[in-house]
């Protein structure tokens, strides 16, 4: 049986909410349909997408058809080294993270450096829902419904100058809230970056929620990047700083092991990780016994080639992996 958004939400929500959402789901495929998420108000953690806000829904490719990952799996198994290197560490320790108040410092090649509040930078009325495949560099993948604002909108609000060619992001790195930061597993703070055209692409999202709830702390609350055609480590979590630069910024995994993790990190079945193949992936989704879930082939640009391959037209993707 196909484990669609419908089934997952049914498992997560009371019947009345489910029926309201069913009506909403009928509108899927109609570009920019709107639906009130007031039904979410009863969830005590749904502060951001609270009563009265609207979520617009885009059609494919912004909404993948693949069966969804279970909410429980997407929130209990991931990499977030600030909380430890084990995949269950984020859920175990992330409750120590304080996400309110949360400000984001914007600097570098901008008309005016400024510190924004979360809602200033990501107004609620701009929030959209997107179902994206998320492919980890470790060769497993999930399918997750995100809520967020296209990064392009946010960049417009930051007003970068014409000199800005890259945008970099920094995570919070507070040893008092994040036990992993007390170890030297990585160089803190975690840093990631995109070329400006990648950042402006309509698929690139700054997410504040998933599964129609606020982002759980372990998934990068209160704000994280989602770049669905790149390996998951590019999608930096719990962002505190955004900086516009002329030169290509250093990024965490690339600096740590440049032969294994490139700056671009586009999903590419033809370019192996030096230690393992990237030809296929364990798809952690659907509703059968997880131990017997079938492996799926990895697609160029994680299946988003039609939308993004043009960004890399003149580049040798073996060199610029």
């Amino acid at each position: 049986m196909k484990n669609g958004l419908r089934d997952v939400l049914q498992a997560e929500t009371p019947e009345a909410v489910y029926m309201a959402r069913r009506r909403y789901l009928k509108w899927l495929g109609i570009a920019t349909a709107s639906w009130s998420l007031s039904a979410c108000a009863e969830q005590n953690d749904a502060v951001d997408i609270a009563a009265g806000t609207h979520v617009s829904v885009d059609s494919d490719p912004f909404t993948a058809e693949d069966p969804l990952t279970r909410f429980e799996d997407a929130t209990s198994y991931n990499n977030f080294y600030e909380f430890g290197t084990g995949k269950s560490d984020p859920r175990r320790y992330a409750s120590q993270l304080r996400t309110t108040p949360w400000e984001i410092e914007v600097s570098g090649m901008v008309e005016q450096p400024h510190t924004f509040s979360l809602t200033e930078l990501l107004p609620v009325e701009e929030r959209v829902e997107r179902v994206y495949r998320l492919r980890c560099v470790e060769a497993w993948s999930m399918v997750i419904p995100w809520i967020g604002v296209p990064l392009a909108n946010v960049i417009a609000r930051c007003r970068p100058t014409s000199e800005a060619r890259f945008v970099s992001f920094e995570s919070l790195a507070d040893p008092n809230q994040m036990p992993g930061v007390r170890s030297s597993a990585l160089d803190w703070p975690y840093t990631e970056a995109l070329r400006m055209d990648e950042a402006m692409h309509p698929l690139t999202l700054l997410a504040t929620g998933m599964y129609r709830r606020d982002l759980p702390a372990q998934n990068g609350a209160p704000i994280r990047l989602v770049v669905p055609w790149k390996y998951g480590f590019k999608s930096i979590k719990s962002i505190k700083r955004i900086r516009f630069t002329r030169e290509q910024p250093e990024t965490t995994w690339n600096r740590m092991q440049p032969s294994e993790y490139g700056f671009y990190a586009n999903v590419n079945p033809e370019v192996d990780h030096p230690r393992w193949s990237q030809r296929s992936e364990r798809r952690l989704a659907g509703d059968g016994n997880r131990a017997f879930a079938p492996r799926v082939p990895t697609l160029p640009f994680n299946g988003y080639a039609a939308q993004v391959a043009g960004l890399y037209r003149d580049m040798d993707l073996r060199t610029w992996f």
Binding site: E72, D73, S76, A185, W276, N289, A293
Partner: protein, 201 residues
Amino acid sequence: MRFRRETAIALLAHGLALAPLLWLSQAVFAEALGADPVAELTRYSGQAAVIFLLLSLSARPLRMLTQWQWPLRLRRMLGLWAFTWASLHLLVYAVLDLGGYWPQLAEDLLKRPYITVGAIVWLLLLALAATSTKASVRRLGRHWKSLHRLVFVAAPLALAHAIWQEKTGLGDAVWQAPLLAVLLMTRWVAWIDGSRKQRSQ
């Protein structure tokens, strides 16, 4: 009396060795292994193989330390459990994880050094398991001992295989590698000692 104590120890050891396998089988069907059970099964079975390998290598040093007889009597069984877990590890990887993706499996075995090393370890353990019977000990005579010294090659290679696939750090090899080093050193010191005595005689 002695017989009964050793039977009890053997039964206890078999029970302890069997328990994790029974627990793991039920966990697969109860879906108690988290979001990525194939990764968890791979990790668990590989770790179990290393641990049984370390236990089997502890038998002789324990005997030297304590003069107890039973560690050596358990050694074959511990080695066979190491081989069993190594085989399960290989099956999980080849069937549950890469099942159907045979060209990728072939490519992994040939192109990825840590997987090649893992396959070599399994072949070494296969050779040792296949010659573990009393009949083999008789048939191979003095060659049996030389053949079974291959475990001193297999164990470090197994740890290299485990460390190699870690993204950062050493994983459980943090304590296993020093333990293995101590176990191998004990044997080496005893061996030097033995050959010196032989020469002085």
